[in-house]
Symmetry: C3
Subunit: 302 residues, 3 copies
């Protein structure tokens, strides 16, 4: 499996320490190091995501790699080519790194069998989104000193969220406790296992949290049985000033972005929470530079 | 405001003198200078424009900058993200220059408040398109020696044209006189102010002009009340051989391109007018290199 | 005409010998040589093709050229600009190489009259696709030592295939014999001329072939009179284990990709034929590097 689940804690810490040194590059006059000069990265997105792709593209360019964007919707996939044939064909060009977003972890795993290149998982269905969790954890450890023994509350559509899953795997490696909160249809009770608690009442759940991760609501899911009404969702699970007042003063609020203001987070909290959310995006670039650097020289997967 | 209106004449002249030196780079064997090496330019187009984007992209690459194209239609804007949140997120990557096309000048102005990067206006609604005017004026000054004290006739849909506005601001800084010509529905009489004359009869208007700027007809506007009939528009406001014969022999004919032949300009004039229109495109690259170079090292807006 | 037809045999051999030396670059740690540094390549695709464009893009980047992708559908062509005006406008930027895919050879030929840049034909309607044939022939000569005096069987929709045409021109320059096979509606009898034989029975046709080129079925043509039924096509013209057993043991099977498995080639043959088809893609990159290198320094067309 590609993701945080299989990543040893020491490697997470190594990525953080690399990311720390890469953070500085993006503030230089010359925002570029020759670390991956002459390496080829292919951004292979079978599902659209301008933001994640752009972040990887910039990370690669700041390391001097050559980047080719291959959006599968515009390719011959429309002509009936399989995902594996697409990768095999691109493999013929001897890329060094594939950054892949694909609809299922089975598909992603299959792809790893057909390439000598390193693969970075940019989201595999509902399974994992490891660089998002790494940037969340990196942000937390920059703010609080470490990810160790924290109470991490994750709020929203846990059932469908690869961001939630990757963060759950990640924070637990640092002996942090996870509290999951959301409507029962989206937070199955059987999520609860060692290190994970389920809580349906957000007012209660925020109280002890060191970190509050608000998940993005995929509005396209509203029509399904999971989301009977957006208004009711927000009433019960949006972060409001009243709810945030119940939390610890120094609690961190994260969101993978882009925020649907007034759906996940009340817009009157923007001044309070947006700076850290933007810091997440900034850290995302440094974390992705670190990941690309560490997979760019020998075959590895993440 | 970002645009020619706020740009001092001396800065326009400084851009022209830079552009002159950059013209030569594009004719070299090695069409590249390291002027912006390690700088990041984000082409952020909330409205589609392959031509303008390509021109900026190439200008940046010839200065060795890293370029990322961010087309907002394919991004999470579709997911309801605001324009400002998009810029704030990209700002987290510490770009040096944003080249932005957006639907209104209010939106563009708002964006300037959320970035440390330089911003180049690539078209803000009906307001301005400064690099287009700069390349028009640069072309004129290369052909006629200067933009000083000329009679500049602008023909077409003045009401909706950012190209017309930017040129009006620009040429007047050089004591040139502007004559606006087009159907009354598209050339409001109250345009007339110091240095601007309105004329509804193109036959008369061409007679004294040193420079004739033919605006592009946005054919998608035909259905509105402004454009009752394309044929009637052309009959009255297309540049025809008969009309051009009334003009001064050395009158320059410009067009921002692409020309709708037989709509704005009679196709039998192509041999006469197209070379200079293509020269405009060529000069556009040099002018954009000059603009990017001058904003690429410290925060500025244009 | 741009294509293999007009390319002397000596130049084909020169490209092969360049391609051989470029093959090695893509397996290096640093996959990049400065051969075309400071040169500009414009990928100008009036018809969509992610695969061919990506191959040219990577080839150019490995030679250190600057690449701009200009997809004509997203450009102002939608606004009624002609193909020639588009090229003239891009010509103003002094590119060194245009890689062009366009719907007809007349259009491509016309474009050559309006640029000082080298032009590489990436497919001109039904006429030619020269780099595809070069990579096919390069693959054959790497496998069999040369393209000399072979029997080359081409199977499928010959009538509409630029791949077939370019290969026919190419292999005949090396005194190879061409056998065309497919349904009579797609393989006109009058194709037969010196060095070309038409054969409607695939079982018979495979027997003596040294090289079997399976063409891709354009499924969008099924609705036309040419393709009454895909099932019937496959029954008669797909490569099956039984048919391949009739061929010489060392016969090479090529396909321009992507394969519609079970339409052109039975999927149970994948293990046997896919490795060489992927080798074609790999060779395609080296051949395109060779072509770009040889046209990148002085004006030439292919």
């Amino acid at each position: 499996m590609l993701g945080i689940k299989a990543l040893p804690r020491e490697e997470i810490e190594a990525i953080f320490s690399l990311a720390k040194s890469f953070q500085e590059i993006s503030t230089r006059e010359v925002k570029k190091v020759p670390a991956l000069r002459g390496k080829t990265l292919i951004n292979l997105f079978f599902e659209n995501s301008t933001r994640t792709r752009t972040s990887f593209e910039l990370a690669a360019k700041r390391l001097s790699a050559d980047v080719v964007n291959f959006s599968a919707s515009s390719s011959s996939l429309a002509k009936g080519e399989t995902i594996i044939d697409t990768v095999k064909n691109l493999e013929a060009y001897h890329p060094d790194i594939f950054v892949i977003r694909v609809g299922s972890s089975a598909a992603l795993y299959a792809l790893t069998q057909h390439t000598e290149a390193s693969i970075v998982n940019a989201g595999d269905g509902r399974n994992e989104h490891p660089t998002q969790a790494l940037l969340d954890m990196f942000t937390v450890s920059q703010q609080l000193g470490s990810c160790e023994k924290l109470k991490v509350l994750i709020v929203g559509d846990i059932l469908h969220s690869r961001v939630a899953r990757s963060n759950m795997f990640g924070f637990r490696k640092f002996a942090s406790q996870i509290i999951l909160c959301g409507p029962p249809s989206l937070v199955p009770f059987d999520c609860a296992e060692e290190g994970i608690r389920v809580e349906y009442d957000l007012d209660a759940a925020v109280e002890s949290a060191d970190v509050i991760i608000m998940l993005r609501v995929q509005q396209e899911r509203q029509t399904s049985a999971f989301f009977p009404s957006l208004r009711e969702y927000s009433k019960n699970y949006a972060l409001t000033p009243r709810r945030l007042a119940r939390a610890r003063k120094d609690a961190l609020v994260l969101h993978p972005g882009p925020v649907n203001w007034d759906v996940e987070i009340h817009s009157s909290l923007k001044w309070r929470v947006h700076p850290l959310i933007l810091k997440q995006a900034e850290n995302g670039l440094a974390v992705r530079m670190a990941v690309l650097f560490s997979v760019g020289t020998k075959k590895r997967t993440l």
